[in-house]
Symmetry: C2
Subunit: 268 residues, 2 copies
């Protein structure tokens, strides 16, 4: 056991529990065994304390876990606390919400300070990535609580792997601006940066705006730039298309508006 682990030995640990990628997709529940390692399901099944983006969807997830790895306690008895919601407009500014409410984050860690393990889970994929959970992880480090990330799906990295774009240098930049002018400027900025540094740029969009984002990308990117879209990763009808912008323009393909998608570009 290393030093950090010894210091934390009397405390519970913060486990980062992966979720599926089928969140919000109607009628598309995947088999958990296709997406989460068996022993990760077993760890999830024994945790009595949870920090979650949403308690209701976490209960639904744990019900699916229970069918494969029986929960150590009845679902109703689990302690599931929701993460503080960032103030409107602050979602993309980590630290902004926590500064005003550090106590709320520490409160979520109380079970670990009392010696109980906690699971952190988000709505999809790995927690603390593209969601507010990172602030809980930071609070755990500050409180000397051991953080244990578990293996599971990341739609960002699955999309990157499936894109064939540069996987030796890449960035995830979150959402693009909604305003058309700011959006086109941002697209051109990302394309220029990507070309200059040969760094793949990954972005996401709220599913109902997928088509609008594709439209904006095809309008503002150069024909030679590579564009890859992964849609419904891990789902039965999921697909990845990776081609030049010119090819996308020549053979249009629509992106469904109710399925999560990841967009990746590489300047060429």
């Amino acid at each position: 056991m290393n030093k950090a682990a010894r210091n934390a030995a009397h405390k519970g640990r913060l486990y980062l529990i992966p979720n599926t990628l089928d969140f919000g997709v109607e009628g598309a529940q995947v088999d958990l065994r296709s997406i989460i390692p068996a022993q990760v399901l077993e760890i999830a099944a024994r945790l009595g304390h949870w920090a979650a983006e949403n308690a209701k969807t976490t209960r639904a997830f744990l019900k699916r876990v229970d069918a494969l790895a029986p929960l150590a306690q009845p679902l109703q008895q689990l302690d599931i606390q929701e993460l503080p919601r960032p103030a409107k407009g602050q979602q993309d500014k980590p630290g902004a919400a926590s500064a005003s409410d550090a106590r709320a984050w520490l409160q979520l860690l109380a079970p670990a300070l009392d010696g109980h393990d906690i699971g952190l889970i988000s709505e999809a994929g790995l927690p603390a990535i593209a969601d507010p959970g990172a602030q809980l992880v930071a609070a755990a480090h500050a409180a000397g609580i051991e953080v244990i990330p578990l293996s599971g799906p990341s739609s960002l990295l699955m999309a990157l792997a499936a894109s064939g774009l540069n996987g030796q240098s890449f960035a995830f930049v979150g959402y693009l601006p909604v305003d058309a002018h700011a959006r086109s400027a941002r697209i051109k900025e990302l394309e220029a940066w990507s070309l200059r540094h040969q760094q793949t740029q990954l972005m996401i969009e709220t599913p109902y705006r997928n088509a609008a984002l594709l439209d904006a990308l095809l309008t503002h990117l150069k024909g030679g730039t590579r564009l890859s879209i992964s849609c419904g990763l891990s789902l039965e009808n999921g697909w990845t298309r990776s081609a030049s912008v010119a090819d996308w323009r020549g053979k249009p393909q629509s992106v469904p508006d109710k399925v999560p998608a990841v967009f990746a570009i590489l300047g060429a």
Copy 2:
């Protein structure tokens, strides 16, 4: 079935098979069930054709798979082809190797053109990320072969999740220069970029240089910058420490020289 899938229906598919994170770590074989979903192991077990960074380690991996999900064919009968090695000094320049040998990449896809599924696997984690496999994926897209990424561990994203640093915007920049002067310049450049854009910067190092990289980071970063190191992720003695550079300096902690580590910084 979508249009791309229909067009590719007579061809085999390229499955991106995740590997474990214990590569090269003596005596540290993890249980596959802790790191790879059960159904992904079953897919791996039925594939007869493989494209791999290294045939020998792929056979060793498949032997571990066989113990949990019996292989459809004897190990000796599997067709395991190695990826073309990039010319020395070209490892970080995607496209450089393939331009000189596009035929070699297409050759690897011959089984898929004949209707057989192929598995792509790297030495650790997800293939086509931080390894040469992306060129095979790109060739598959060009040849109209469907690419299917499977869920598994990514040490980069597990490290990011465990860091508590910004998971809404992050970049992976690969290896830093070995030359001391170029390295310190690069560290300062990444720190300035990270501060300005609040973008976490992730990097890796050859394990025997882990200590030298930590040294360089502690020498050249500002005291307020956040530094997170994840060492031996998924392994029994793995750990993540996330603290300010000033804290790292005040309480030094060594990074083992035979265990993979991921380094992450965030300017503050």
